[in-house]
């Protein structure tokens, strides 16, 4: 079975998000381990991957659209996205709760910001994986 444009789009988002934001977190972890704890020091480091992510996602979708005609979203694509989001959104919720707890115990802002970012990244990655599983294995079980 050939993948639809929507499924290929999810693959592009998964690979590019993991590669680009994963690289950000590796560098950020190194900086944090060296004692860099001011949020402003991470801003340039964060802008580069975000811009890179936009470029990679745009190029990836253009390439896929050129090689295969986009067939549009239908009800199955929407249901798969809703169900995947419903299964993965708790990760972001846990991250927000952890960040709020961090605020209560006066954790450095840089840790709170990264807790939120990491939970957002993990939540998105989980959503992409759930979507791909539903596309491949179906939603009947």
């Amino acid at each position: 079975m050939h993948a639809s444009f929507e499924e290929k789009s999810v693959w592009i988002q998964l690979v590019s998000t993991v590669a680009v934001l994963g690289a950000y977190f590796v560098v950020a972890a190194l900086m944090l381990s060296k004692g860099v704890t001011t949020v402003i020091a991470f801003v340039p480091l964060f802008i580069v991957p975000v811009a890179l992510l936009v470029v990679v996602l745009t190029v990836g979708h253009v390439v896929v659209a050129i090689t295969a005609r986009p067939d549009g979203r239908d009800e199955r694509d929407r249901i798969i996205e809703w169900r995947a989001e419903s299964n993965s959104s708790w990760i972001l919720g846990v991250g927000v709760l952890a960040a709020l707890t961090g605020l209560v115990v006066s954790l450095d802002n840089v840790w709170i910001a990264h807790m939120l970012l990491l939970s957002m990244l993990l939540s998105e990655v989980a959503r992409f994986i759930f979507q791909l599983v539903y596309y491949r294995r179906g939603m009947e079980k």
Partner: protein, 54 residues
């Protein structure tokens, strides 16, 4: 009739028709009725509860 032809007539992607055929996706009532209309058959002739892929 090809999957693509059916997909075009009922307004979904070919992959969705493929998933319905393989019992990997249960279509909405609207799509189920459209499929039955295309084949000019009653709904229960096209879809059975608990059907397995052939």
């Amino acid at each position: 009739m090809t999957q693509q032809e059916l997909a075009d007539q009922i307004g979904v992607t070919r992959q969705t028709v493929n998933a319905i055929e393989g019992c990997k996706y249960s279509p909405s009532l609207e799509v189920a009725f459209r499929i039955a209309q295309v084949f000019d058959k009653p709904l229960e002739d096209v879809f059975q509860y608990g059907a397995q892929p052939e």
